[in-house]
């Protein structure tokens, strides 16, 4: 006969508000095999855990059911407490009466009855729990960092400085990301390139960092401590080892009319190019889509002029397999585009702003390039249509952000500050110019942030108008801005020379595809989800994968750098041990019954099933059976559901246990 203890948690009021916890405990006490049942306000607190430990000893419990929150939340907590009390931790189970019951129901009587049902099922299951021992696996002390913007760079440098190997993968030909595109940074107005490029060089020179630029993640296999990642290094058509970065190829390339995306299409670049002069690495790539040699076979100028003979038109994409123990995802963001969207798209675009067809209506990142000393105008503010210096500039905040009718309800967090910065930069460059800002709210929490905004308003005389802009249209060479000023209760019409839209920060296109490759979760806006909004802000729910920067949600530079260092610290924690323990919830094969059909191998998403030969003492092959690799098995149970002879089972989720749960219901 079992000796099970049941502990019903109030979770403050989270459970007790809807579920009569005393009644649930009393009902549990009457179940056969339950020798002790109680309820407590916070089971996860220290006194709560002590109650559990004390009861295990006093009542000689051989199984524990904690009726509380999701096992994702506190299973680890209570299993540790059980272990401390001398019980095998896998004899401690959670009955989820919060997420599965109190949070989703209103009727108290019905919720209480359901909670009792859940507890009864878990008691039945716990009676059939086996003592399991944790499995130790080797940790590969190398980390993959995806993305070479400031987040990826910071994470890579921190991990590498701690003495671990890092593989850094960047999609573009150079490191730098969005930060390399910025002019000056708020609130101190230090030059972005000046603080960014040294870090880029540090990455390139670091002995512990392997850098793959112009590369993307192809596949990911394995699990925490033991990932196998395949990286596709796209053909640069330039042999990196030979290239000296002299730049003659770019200068001589006859095709020079390709919009330069690094300059937000304000300038042009050749077909063989490095995105910007400070690019790291300095190796150019051939944009095969626009290169005359690749389009028509004629040309070949770059090959002729290249002294070291680094041009290789026949270069192929290269697939590189890297074993790593941890992954930091730092893929960044992109900006909302106000252009027309396909019908049915959740993002709507701005027809009232001309869907992006008015040339002197630009976005914030484009303004950064105009203001940047290394930008297409050398830092002179010139508007795109005719190159004139704009004297009246209207900045519009919250374009796309906080606008559910346009598809996005969140705040993009950085726009209030960068718009204030834009007005300051503009005033510094165009002394007789006037900046106007249409805003909903000025959100400036952060160290020295509000002071900076006040400076824009009071010293640099940016005119802030609280209200929205309903329409932009071209009149002559002006852009007419029609908006409201809700503080004076009037309609405003401004004839602007240039309009700058603070468009929303969005997840990168393809963020969902990458998440599916990595097996991590993402929200409805395709931002990656952290394991816990407050207490696990850099971890993914998938073990061994960490998040840094704007791929998780809009962030400014200080916050991005903090999160990147935090992610790096988590990676170092993982790498602090040679071996790591993993949960023993894995599939086991009953070799006596296995009919060697290998249906399990076909369905296993982890590739954990292999063939095993059974031989007699003379080494003669008797038969083959399926065998599960402890390290690789993800414990999903697909094989168990598939096996026709019922000879493969998941530890902790055996058929017998599931049957017992159903019978208890």
């Amino acid at each position: 006969m079992s000796r099970i203890g049941v502990f019903v948690c109030h979770c403050g009021e989270n459970i007790a508000r809807t579920v009569d916890v005393e009644k649930v405990a009393a009902a549990a006490a009457r179940l056969p095999g339950v020798v002790f049942a109680t309820d407590y306000k916070y089971m996860c607190s220290d006194p709560g855990q002590n109650r559990l430990k004390k009861a295990v000893a006093e009542h000689r419990l051989d199984g524990v059911v904690v009726a509380a929150c999701s096992p994702r939340m506190h299973e680890k907590t209570f299993r540790s407490a059980a272990r401390a009390a001398g019980l095998n931790p896998f004899l401690c189970e959670m009955a989820n009466i919060r997420e599965h019951c109190s949070w989703v129901h209103e009727d108290r009587a019905e919720a209480t009855a359901k909670a009792s049902d859940i507890v009864r099922m878990m008691v039945a299951r716990t009676k059939k729990d086996n003592r399991l021992a944790p499995i130790s696996v080797q940790v590969t002390k190398r980390s993959l960092v995806i993305g070479g913007g400031i987040a990826g760079i910071q994470a890579a440098l921190d991990i590498a400085d701690a003495g671990h190997q890092v593989v850094l993968v960047e999609r573009e030909p150079s490191l730098g990301g969005h930060m390399a595109m910025l002019s000056e940074t708020f609130p101190t107005l230090d030059c972005s390139q000046c603080i960014m490029t040294p870090k880029m060089v540090d990455v390139a020179n670091h002995p512990n960092i392997t850098l793959h630029t112009y590369a993307e993640l192809e596949t990911v296999e394995g699990y925490i401590g033991n990932f196998q990642v395949t990286v596709r290094k796209k053909a640069k058509s330039v042999v990196e080892a030979k290239c000296t970065g002299c730049g003659v190829c770019s200068t001589k390339c006859p095709q020079k009319k390709i919009p330069n995306s690094f300059d937000r299409d304000l300038g042009m670049r050749p077909a063989i190019y490095a995105p910007f002069p400070q690019a790291v690495p300095n190796t150019p790539v051939i944009d095969r889509e626009h290169c005359t040699k690749f389009i028509s076979g004629k040309c070949g100028v770059c090959q002729k002029v290249c002294g070291p003979g680094a041009i290789d038109y026949d270069q192929q994409d290269e697939l590189i397999v890297e074993p790593v123990g941890a992954i930091v995802v730092a893929t960044g963001f992109e900006l909302y585009d106000i252009g027309r969207k396909p019908e049915g798209s959740a993002i709507k675009g701005y027809g009232e702003y001309g869907y992006g067809t008015i040339p002197d209506v630009i976005d914030g990142l484009t303004f950064e390039r105009l203001a940047s000393a290394s930008g297409p105008t050398g830092g002179k503010i010139e508007r795109p249509s005719d190159g004139k210096e704009p004297k009246e500039v209207v900045f519009i905040q919250c374009v796309g952000s906080r606008a559910p009718q346009k598809g996005i309800s969140y705040c993009s967090k950085v726009c209030c500050m960068y718009t204030a910065k834009h007005t300051v930069l503009y005033k510094h460059k165009v002394h007789d110019g006037q900046a106007y800002v249409f805003f909903m709210d000025a959100r400036t929490p952060g160290k020295n942030y509000d002071e900076f905004w006040r400076r824009a308003v009071e010293e640099e005389e940016a005119l802030y108008l609280r209200g929205m802009v309903s329409r932009l249209y071209q009149r002559g060479d002006k852009v007419v801005v029609v908006g409201s000023d809700v503080l004076s209760g009037s309609q405003v019409e401004i004839e602007a020379d240039l309009v700058v839209l603070a468009t929303a920060v969005q997840a990168r296109g393809g963020a969902d595809t990458l998440a599916q490759k990595l097996g991590i979760s993402y929200d409805k806006y395709n931002f990656y989800s952290e394991a816990h909004a407050k207490l696990k802000p850099v971890e993914c729910a998938t073990a061994g994968i960490f998040l840094a920067g704007a791929c998780q949600g809009p962030k400014d530079i200080p916050e991005t750098v903090s999160q990147a260092s935090a992610a790096a610290a988590k990676v170092m924690t993982l790498f602090a041990k040679d071996q790591m323990e993993r949960e023993p919830v894995i599939a086991r094969v009953d070799e006596r019954r296995c009919a060697a059909c290998f249906a399990c191998r076909k369905v296993c998403p982890y590739g954990a099933v292999a063939e095993k030969a059974i031989r007699d003492r003379q080494g003669k092959l008797l038969r083959t059976v399926a065998s599960v690799n402890d390290g690789v098995c993800g414990g999903c149970g697909t094989c168990q559901a598939t096996c026709p002879s019922k000879s493969i089972e998941l530890d902790g989720y055996t058929d017998e246990q599931i049957d017992a749960m159903i019978e208890a219901l």
Partner: protein, 296 residues
């Protein structure tokens, strides 16, 4: 085009304006559709849709008026052609509200003692000409192309809005008017005030507001080099046409911009006479312009 085309037939809801201040819209719609072989069957015993005032006073009343019309419209075959932008908007809004809100539908049904059929497709003539008939057949039917005529297409507020209800075209950047008049050989000018509000029924209660709004619209059309405006709404037409003299007196300039219904301009392109299109019903006389351009 392959095969024989099914003749197009529609129910017809003219609305109050088309029986009074916008008689020429009714006249020209019937004449144009007749010339194109498109059948129109008037909804028997139709009543006022409530237009802009009713829904400001009593939402239930305004929904019920339209609901009643939707019930009556079931007695005529085909989709329902509604030339007045205000009627169009109210009927569409009623369908939208009652489809999405069962409680509201119940309340209306109780008031008018009948459930409301909501499946009838409500169509503005722009949609019928530009989509159902199609631009190519429309262009093929043109006998006197409006070559050399520069038209400012004026949508006003209601034709394309609110988004998700009207569904005539993109709410903030529509093209259907330009496409349709382009098929008739005219040149649609690019201008700024296509979708601005003219003040609509405030013409009676706040004439000052309406004069300012119409002045902006007329000035913008003039600046863009338009010869005339094309509208699909009797309220817009009324304000821009009827108030034009007043605006000119205030602004001290002269616009001289005839404000024609789309059906009148297309009717001209199909060779219909000025009389059949009710051109004499307009305040700013379009005849001198049309003669100058050789279109009459």
């Amino acid at each position: 085009m392959s095969g024989v085309r099914e003749p197009l037939n529609y129910g017809y809801y003219p609305g109050c304006s088309l029986h009074a201040s916008a008689k020429e819209y009714d006249l020209s719609t019937r004449a144009l559709f007749g010339a194109l072989g498109i059948g129109l069957t008037q909804v028997p015993d139709w009543i006022c849709c409530g237009a802009t005032p009713a829904h400001n006073v009593d939402e239930l009343l305004s929904l019920s008026l339209c609901a009643k019309n939707l019930i009556l419209a079931e007695t005529v075959p085909g989709d329902l052609a509604v030339p007045c932008a205000s009627c169009f908007s109210r009927l569409k809004t009623t369908q939208h509200e009652l489809t999405g809100d069962a409680a509201k539908h119940k309340l209306v049904a109780k008031g008018i003692e009948s459930r409301v059929p909501l499946a009838k497709k409500i169509k503005h003539p722009l949609e019928i000409l530009g989509r159902d008939l199609g631009l190519e057949p429309l262009a093929a039917a043109v006998k006197k192309p409006l070559a050399g005529l520069k038209v400012a297409c004026y949508y006003g507020c209601l034709l394309t809005r609110p988004p998700g209800v009207s569904q005539l075209d993109d709410a903030e950047a529509p093209t259907i008017m330009e496409e349709v008049i382009g098929a008739a050989g005219a040149e649609a000018v690019i201008w700024s005030h296509r979708l601005e509000c003219c003040g609509a029924s405030f013409t009676l209660s706040r004439p000052g507001v309406v004069v300012k709004l119409t002045a902006d619209i007329l000035a913008a059309a003039k600046d863009a080099g338009a010869d005339c405006l094309m509208v699909g709404c009797p309220l817009c037409q009324g304000n821009l046409d009827l108030r034009q003299r007043e605006v000119e007196e205030l602004a001290g300039g002269r616009y001289g911009l005839p404000v024609l219904y789309l059906t009148q301009l297309l009717g001209l392109a199909l060779g219909l006479s000025a009389d059949r299109l009710g051109l004499s019903g307009l305040m700013v006389d379009p005849l001198p312009l049309l003669k100058r351009k050789g279109l009459l």
